[in-house]
Point group: C3
Chain length 339, copies 3
């Protein structure tokens, strides 16, 4: 592949890419899916190394990125920054500036994953990723952080294009909070809101009181919808958003008070979340939709976020979407790192 217009670009959220760039990425991903092991793409990153920094562990994300690098002819290195001696306010070590400068000499790109318990407050993961991006001459790709999860958003959109048709304009997605025992990050649902609104969908969010999402992301989503002449709505009613929806995305996320006193309080979050037993996506609610598909970034917390009946039902597209992670990540890597 020749260098693309996206060569060298960071991907921290799809909101920072133009709509044309998002479509270009999705179309390449769709082509890569069709021609999965074709020589056309199997040497794109030959002998190149992609670094994957997992502040938080993840089997799925690691698999999809490492396989993506492999299928492009390159190599993904699984790295745990806990073995780095990085400088902090209280301990001696290397600065991000030095670490990023050196990595840019070795790698074709750097993926970073940093979530909940590895930060002291919402927004710190995003700040750290942007610090790496500032000092690094190679593309930085978020592999999920506290605010955004761009590759998940692209995978979602690729799934909706497959099942609803390539023009998503006017289709409706509901993001329904799900109760559960995991105290999950805002990143996946926030990214979904952003990319779906960019691509012309009506965007709805339903959650109990106290579970608002990042006000800035809400503002951007509203603006995206309005730019496309579409609707944006937030409700605290467990059933309200289902009506007429083409996609239901049911997912647990942490409350507004998850961080306090300089840390993430998972146990409190779980205790609080488990009380909202109504907030489960089930067949009864799905019947209210416009023959809607069930979407989820996985892993699914069955029995809490969604019933088995829905998650394993005919309208569930979660496995397709999980597969898409591979294809969109290959496309992102090819576009930003190859040539």
């Amino acid at each position: 592949m020749a260098k693309s217009n996206l060569y060298g670009r960071d991907l921290i959220t799809t909101q920072e890419w133009s709509k044309e760039e998002i479509i270009q990425t999705l179309e390449l991903a769709e082509e890569m899916q069709k021609k999965r092991f074709s020589p056309e793409f199997s040497n794109v990153l030959n002998n190149r190394s992609f670094f994957m920094f997992f502040y938080n562990p993840s089997v799925r994300t690691r698999q999809s990125f490492e396989v993506a690098a492999t299928e492009l002819g390159g190599h993904g290195l699984f790295l745990e920054p806990k073995t780095m001696r990085l400088k902090t306010a209280t301990s001696a070590g290397e600065t991000v500036e030095d670490a990023a400068n050196v990595m840019a000499r070795y790698a074709c790109g750097l993926g970073i994953r940093i979530l909940e318990d590895k930060i002291a407050d919402y927004g710190e993961g995003d700040a750290l990723i942007r610090e790496y991006a500032k000092y690094s001459e190679i593309p930085i790709v978020s592999m999920a952080h506290d605010k955004f999860h761009p590759c998940q958003g692209l995978a979602d959109a690729m799934g909706y294009r497959k099942h609803l048709g390539k023009d998503l304009k006017g289709k409706t997605i509901l993001h329904a909070w799900g109760h559960g025992a995991l105290g999950r990050s805002h990143c996946s649902v926030q990214e979904s809101m952003l990319i779906c609104s960019r691509l012309g969908m009506n965007v709805r969010v339903a959650h109990p009181k106290g579970y608002s999402l990042d006000p800035e992301v809400v503002k951007w989503t509203k603006k995206n919808c309005s730019d496309n002449g579409m609707e944006f709505a937030v409700t605290n009613d467990v059933e309200e958003g289902y009506e007429g929806a083409e996609i239901v995305y049911s997912r647990n996320w942490m409350s507004e008070k998850a961080y306090h006193g300089g840390e993430f309080h998972k146990a409190e979050e779980v205790e609080k979340a488990l009380k909202f037993t109504d907030w489960i996506c089930d067949e009864k609610k799905m019947k209210l939709t416009n023959n809607g598909f069930f979407s989820h970034p996985m892993p699914v917390d069955r029995g809490h976020e969604v019933t088995d009946e829905v998650a394993s039902g005919k309208r569930s597209i979660i496995i397709d979407i999980a597969e898409n992670r591979l294809h969109v990540q290959k496309a992102v890597m090819a576009l930003t790192m190859a040539g």
Copy 2:
């Protein structure tokens, strides 16, 4: 390579493959050893990813599988399921069904290793592997579990074919329990009993009272021997089985009472096993054999299972057999995953 008749097949124990399939695998492994880096085999899994799930760590098994994938042009991912949030009776997480379904979209095959202390009772590892196999459309390969170790069995057989000739019919192998400080799994010796009896050998097992192996495996071995007109014998005498043996396989394994109260009791096992100081394979006992070879799946616990004199002696074929792990695993991967 074109798709073989074994394409898509799981390998949980060689007992579930036909004798012809076992021979086919051994012959391909022997050819792969002869032409180790030949272009004939170096692109068989190009750009493909093989997932290696290590519930229990292992340096040797990881090396031999990851090198096997590399030599076939593919990539082995070393994964530790402890970083997965799998659903259990007591904690929220992903189901094996979901995990297996997604992995089948990314990988060409999945290896699983699960032993002693990662299970609550004998048989649970085997059950988990079969649950993955049920939901996964890609081949599942045991990389050693509580019951079986098919790749070790194939490596053993490849070693015996090299040193005793390709027709093993009528040759005699003794599996001699060895004392020691490791409380080892039954899997290697049980697999050896099964594959050697399939290939026409007389099979003997010697162990102190209280160290019986899985009755079902014993029954199958007896049947395999009988089908081939060969002899099967079990003794509690430390010297009895050596006479006339062509192969002595000396290895520690846990007692019948290793699991109780929902866990594996290693300390008890070690204390008990260390008392049987006679149960060591030494030159004196080896003199009783028919100029027998010394076999062991490694790592060897020298001084307990076997003396240095025997383990490093001229009739020791342990390094050859360890090397064979690479070749048989390449053959298994090529036959079940390529094309």
Copy 3:
């Protein structure tokens, strides 16, 4: 590449390679840097596996070795020996002899990193590496151990050749002890002393009393300097060595008393080292040099070993040198393992 004269050689310290072999390696590394992804070098280790044994973790060293293997067409396996059951004085397990013998059947080479806290006394890491080398038929490469760090030394020399010209004869390097909170190994600075003295430089060492380096390394360095008609000097004065130096290499290292009672006492080392606040490389001292370059093996402990002003200044060549790790390691692997 055809087999080189260095095929099969271990690299434990550059002192054990001839000056011609060192120059040959540096010249190949320089060529590899110029033609980084050229087909000339991208298949040199095709389908081959390089094992990396990290007794101590290291992100930088792991990155540079794993990327080196990838760029040569091979694969680097990141292995942590803590998951091996190696035999020790007090516990059952595998011998180095057995482990090394088997690895030689799988891999094209073996890198080992073992430092401070993984040994009970200075010299034990070196002894362990030499034990692996004794039993292994594949090349052993030190990835930093208690005594030496040959790949860092080669990277340093490659950097000095770039910035001072290829003939280093008569140039002067100061190794200045730096205070700090890390209690670092002697290996990098000792390797630098050795390789710089081999290549014809004047070598100076400055440190507080109590921080002498290995007397044998000091003796070898003196002899190397004398063989080339150059000067070797040691001082306890913080400023003395700077005058006229072309390179200042400022680095913390542990005291002569770091090991006692069978272990490394990091906390004591840090407490003691932090008292020597004058021992920082700053602009004032750098003004005494002959427009000297600042060198450091990274990670840099900024504010202790060196000021930000110097470390990020125009005469700092630390990022170039870190990049060189990749090129010299590719050259070492190609020369000792390919063909």
